[in-house]
């Protein structure tokens, strides 16, 4: 087992990894930018190294600084969290070359899944259903021709994409030139390559994802699904497990297909297979995230497992200690991502938190690095806390979430809490009747905005 792990991240996920390490008896090294000097991950790690100025490109994305910090502190492994370098095959490669264990899949698997188009082709080959789509689009003429074949509406997507950037919905040939161009520009700006491809656009979809764990001995298991349909601008706001749309038979069948495909790929570590569900409840492979997800706690609540501990144990050579097929899901869990943002416009709201009161009580969990008097810097993600509840069924989970949101007091900055309170009170949400456009009823959320 590792004696010391460096956590190459910030905020709640850095703290989450530090918690797992403390419970496993592993020492931790935090790295931080000058903007995060007074952050809780710095305070609770055994050691902390300042790795650069506030801008991520010079700190949390600075590979040389992070590797160097691991070397001067004698860390043996690096946990990348999510975001930043978590899905960088290059970073995983440099870790390996520097004799540091990267806590995640092998670099070649990260790069396969990072290329969304190649991943989709490989998964189709291994028996997973995929949405009709194209190769990388070389020209406007090719885009029009491919869109005709797939059938409108189509989605233009960045080949190296993620997080909702570099995506445009095209309803008709007339719209293609403009949206193709803007998607390519956004892809180039966000991911360094303008490559985009087309995919069939499902008008009223739901997002379902399966959590998996793979060990270094060839075994992959799945831990059931999460429903992440409640989104704005392709970013999730509420997640739950299990989904109201997946029955036991579907869970076993789809889970089995995913496990077989990923065993073939040689998947190791924690990962998430994202699927799109169409109006007829058909599931199609969308993409795979080769890291711990923001919403992993809902799976932890219904399985009783600690996924971050599992990541560390697997990286140290451990076996996945259970059989996914027989693992039962207990009760129902919901997570709300509490973001520092204006609840009407969703514009980020950085600043000083003056009051911070977390809800507690039975079945309530809060993962956060915020505290009263803490400052939410403008340089990073707007997620400031994750509120997770567990109940005996979905009804109890919703009422528990409602009261927990009411008892979550954050002052000094605006947050998404008011929107999430409205979601919990909505009869359609309570009935499980929603798609990815659900939030339009609370705010103007143009799909092709910006």
């Amino acid at each position: 087992m590792f004696k010391k792990i460096l956590v190459a991240n910030r905020g709640e996920i850095a703290l989450r990894v530090i918690c797992a390490c403390k419970e496993l008896g592993i020492r931790t090294v935090a790295v931080y930018s000058e903007a995060d000097r007074y952050s809780l991950h710095v305070r609770f790690a055994d050691e902390a190294v300042c790795i650069g100025p506030p801008r991520s490109s010079e700190s949390y994305l600075n590979v040389a600084s992070i590797i160097s910090a691991a070397e001067i502190t004698g860390a043996e492994a690096i946990h990348p969290g999510y975001g930043f370098l978590a899905e960088s095959a290059y970073f995983a490669d440099v870790c390996e070359a520097s004799n540091l264990t990267f806590i995640g899949p092998k670099p070649d698997v990260i790069s396969l899944m990072g290329d969304k188009n190649r991943a989709r082709a490989r998964m189709a080959e291994l028996g997973l259903p995929v949405l009709p789509g194209s190769e990388v689009i070389p020209s406007e003429e090719a885009a029009l021709k491919e869109a005709e074949r797939i059938g409108y509406p189509v989605m233009v997507k960045a080949a190296a994409g993620g997080g909702g950037r570099g995506m445009r919905i095209v309803q008709s040939p007339e719209e293609m030139p403009h949206f193709l161009q803007t998607a390519q520009n956004e892809a180039a700006a966000s991911f360094g390559t303008p490559d985009v491809y087309l995919e069939k656009y499902i008008t009223s979809p739901r997002h379902i994802e399966f959590q998996v764990l793979g060990d270094q001995h060839g075994r992959v298991v799945h831990l059931g699904e999460r429903e992440c349909t409640i989104q704005r601008r392709h970013q999730k706001l509420v997640e739950e497990s299990p989904s109201t749309q997946i029955d036991k038979e579907t869970r076993l069948r789809v889970g089995h297909q995913i496990v077989k495909a990923l065993e073939e790929v040689g998947y190791t570590g924690a990962g998430t297979v994202e699927l799109l569900m169409d109006e007829n409840r058909n599931l199609c492979f969308l993409e795979m995230n080769t890291r711990i997800q923001v919403e992993h706690p809902v799976t932890e609540m219904v399985t009783g497992l600690d996924l971050v501990k599992q990541q560390i144990l697997i990286a140290a050579g451990g076996h996945v200690p259970f059989d996914g097929e027989t693992l039962g899901l207990r009760g129902h869990a919901i997570e709300c991502r509490i973001c520092a943002e204006n609840p009407q416009t969703f514009a980020p709201s950085a600043g000083k938190v003056t009051v911070f009161h977390e809800p507690g009580g039975t079945g309530v969990r809060v993962d956060t690095a915020a505290y009263a008097e803490s400052v939410i810097p403008p340089y990073y993600d707007s997620l400031i806390a994750k509120l997770i509840v567990h109940g005996k069924d979905r009804k109890e989970a919703i009422s528990r979430m409602s009261r927990a949101l009411e008892m979550f007091i954050i002052e000094g900055i605006s947050t998404s809490v008011p929107v999430q309170r409205k979601i919990m009170a909505d009869p359609d949400f309570q009935a499980g009747n929603f798609d990815t456009h659900f939030l339009r009823r609370f705010a103007r959320d143009g799909e092709n905005s910006s």
Binding site: E34, V49, S59, S65, S68, I72
Partner: protein
């Protein structure tokens, strides 16, 4: 002078060599003051101002982080 990178501070060019500079030395702009080792690379740090070294904050072989103070230099008066 603050460290621009994370790494290990070396006051001298080789283990048994005398240090690049010590307190009381006068340094010129561009003069090498120390080495910071990061990822097996030796990065020479040069003085950004001319003047007298009045303090050395770190020990030879000590790990340093980004922004950590290394030297205090009293600038010489401009003519």
């Amino acid at each position: 002078m603050k460290s621009p990178i994370v790494g290990t501070f070396y006051a001298a060019p080789a283990p048994n060599a005398p240090p690049f500079v010590k307190v009381g030395d006068t340094v010129q702009v561009g003069q090498v003051l120390c080495i910071i080792e990061a990822m097996k690379l030796m990065n020479e740090l040069e003085a950004e101002v001319a003047g007298e070294v009045v303090r050395v904050y770190v020990e030879n072989g000590q790990p340093v982080e980004y922004g950590q103070s290394l030297f205090a230099i009293e600038p010489s008066h401009k003519k």
